[in-house]
Symmetry: C2
Subunit: 426 residues, 2 copies
């Protein structure tokens, strides 16, 4: 099926500002609360939120096999479970409806009033009920940096790292949409040189610049998938800030991995960009040496050229961009991650989420966490207001952004932001 | 509120065989498919499955504030979210209805026909939709054994172990009810002395004798709970076999913990025994030295005396009991685990599950896994049929059982069983 929605020459009759993340070629999916306090599934063009529930009720999707309430839900899970053919039909149809050459909705003021909101009128929600969330550790530069800081620069990568897309199970309940404040976590830490641990607010809260993909139903328990088909099960991607309390994590993580150092909050951007929309931005994956085992071998352009950045915004200050990275730096691709995840028969369901792990690039300016950017606090960052940061202070807001562009189109994710508020006093 | 359902003198008009796990003092909750192919929430007395959906429709719970469809669901989550007062009212009322001195239902053949099934007529389902599943590592003996086998017997426990109830996030999607076959997982392993990893069926599949508790809604994101109130949020317990592929786990787990070595399947027993039903079997917890930090300090009897065992049943053979342990051996109590879990503000929801970790006792006969029982295969176990086992063979069934008893009452969990079937050929 042709992805007509990606046609780079198409314009919308809705105004799209230059450098908007949301031209008519994007058509992401999200969930929002309208000015009438109704929760609905929607999309976005320019600065407009479009109510897909209302569009469907008014008959605009009558030629597509959809259940009546598919968009009148507080989560995208059922729509995601409908599968890739349905996603394409819907995206293509939305592109038609809002095409500058199509006046059916454009000229219907009553319908427009029910369907179209400005972004200021809506409140974005978590777009999907995440069943299981897995976080990978797929950036070689990040794994090397962390290994160098905490262990041995000469043997920074674990022996398994070049053979396995290393990952671990994360906490689903504390995944929140952009804009939700994050309370600084309390926890056990063991200060350097202390005989015993203490309990109190984390002193080393960090961000992690990640992306995450959302799956449809992939396999039944005991079944596996082949790498060549893995991408068919990926609905789309979000920006992902895997907040980390380094001091809690450092004391708790041996031998079973990160736990409360991560589970206090994880922020995702509210619009899911479909893998279809990102198709024009495919690029070559990093060379893999040694060659992976056969079940993980891939060909073709399995990576995506998504420009990423993170900024710090202090209370009453202005933003400082602290890093610029790219999703294409990931050593292990999404297809390899998903194939590996099912290789033992583990079932993956509609609405499951898989994070990339921190995406660090090859240079110091492209590291994806404060841990790496300040090399565990040794080299603080100076913000535009002259203040220094080793990690994240109370009332700092961290904003992740990401977009793709070529000669004709730019599509992006919008902001993935979260403000760190002070810990509860125990 | 008095837990009238625990009255040890009560008898049921339904026949309960001697040594049954399910006298009228038990009244567990589960979900089953009836002979009419209807899914319902139910309880069990003796060898009878009782349809609570039908009981409610016929008016037997009319004095309790319950929504009409609370039991006509395929999961207990909504009932669990109703909270402890409701659970008690319902258990007490069920005890009344089936009391040998109460003939209202006993003498109503039409109602009995709609409400009561034999266990052979129903098919047990997963009782709860598990949002997040966490596994702890709370048995000191188990942690010491594993540390001795894989690291250093002199420093078997990690430095954090006596200060933190160590835990990690597990995979929810692959949690299955007793009776579901488990396919031997394929995966990456690195044989001793080999230069490179290989991919194929795990050679070292193990069981882990655990219990798990199911929570109601505990806290909102950013909030915490106090230890004294933690047990109020525990709905009940199940037996739990945390199947583990030791060779996959050994190669993948550094530095982020267990992943595909666990996520191919985890089996729970189908009946959830409420914490209320287990109340008469409280017992002292192991002394904790060093004293935990204040947020984890506890008093009173926070442990439960639940006798546990695991048996191996080879194809066409008979059962061999391979271990006998007890839930009371756990060093960290459920109250400490749940309090710790929320201490960073992580939200815990109705239907979340927390495993104990392998429960090993102080003697070789009470170890909770083949890894420990055979000391990583060095001392194979001889089964009743004369065959030897280092780990679990294809077509072996592992059966966990657990029960409490005092002078007047014995209540138990029934079987938690799973058969290992051969791996798919890749």
């Amino acid at each position: 099926m042709v992805i007509k929605a990606n046609d780079p020459n198409r314009k919308s009759w809705l105004n799209v500002e230059k450098d908007s993340d949301f031209p008519i070629q994007n058509i992401p999916f999200g969930v929002f609360l309208t000015r009438d306090d109704i929760i609905t599934i929607g999309t976005r063009i320019g600065n407009y939120a479009i109510d897909l529930g209302a569009l469907h009720q008014l008959g605009y999707f009558s030629e597509i096999p959809l259940t009546d309430d598919i968009f009148l839900q507080d989560t995208l899970n059922d729509f995601i479970a409908d599968g890739r053919i349905t996603w394409r039909l819907v995206r293509n149809r939305i592109a038609e409806i809002f095409d500058s050459n199509n006046s059916i909705l454009k000229d219907n003021e009553e319908h427009k009033d029910r369907i179209i909101f400005t972004m200021e009128e809506v409140e974005m929600q978590l777009p999907v009920t995440i069943g299981d969330y897995t976080d990978f550790y797929a950036s070689k530069e990040h794994a090397t940096n962390v290994g160098s800081i905490f262990r041995d620069p000469e043997n920074a990568l674990m022996p398994n790292w070049l053979h396995i897309p290393i990952g671990y199970h994360g906490r689903s309940s504390s995944i929140i949409p952009s804009g939700t404040p994050i309370k600084r976590p309390n926890g056990q830490t063991k200060p350097k040189g202390a005989d015993n641990p203490i309990f109190g607010p984390s002193k080393l809260v960090d961000f992690e610049l990640e992306m995450a993909f959302i799956t449809t139903d992939v396999n039944k328990l005991g079944e596996t998938i082949k790498l060549e088909e893995a991408e068919d099960y990926i609905f789309g991607l979000v920006l992902f800030n895997d907040w980390s309390a380094r001091d809690i994590q450092g004391w708790e993580y041996a031998p079973l991995g990160p736990f409360l150092g991560k589970s206090f909050a994880s922020t995702i951007s509210p619009w899911i960009l479909t893998l279809d929309a990102l198709e024009p931005f495919r690029t070559a994956s990093p060379e893999q040496n040694p060659t992976p085992l056969p079940y993980l071998q891939q060909s073709g352009n399995r990576s995506l050229d998504i420009k990423l950045q993170a900024s710090l915004l202090p209370e009453n200050g202005d933003e400082t961009k602290v890093t610029e990275s790219n999703f294409k730096y990931m050593y292990w691709t999404m297809a390899q991650q998903l194939t590996h995840h099912t290789s033992n028969g583990c079932n993956v369901r509609a609405g499951d989420m898989m994070g990339s792990g921190t995406i660090s690039g090859p240079t110091k300016e492209s590291y994806g966490s404060m841990l790496e950017l300040t090399w565990a606090g040794k080299n603080p960052i100076t913000l535009n207001d002259g203040s220094e940061r080793k990690f994240i202070n109370d009332n700092d807001t961290v904003i992740l952004r990401g977009y793709c562009e070529n000669n004709t189109v730019r599509i992006g994710f919008g902001d993935c932001s979260g403000k760190m508020v002070p810990a509860s006093i125990k």
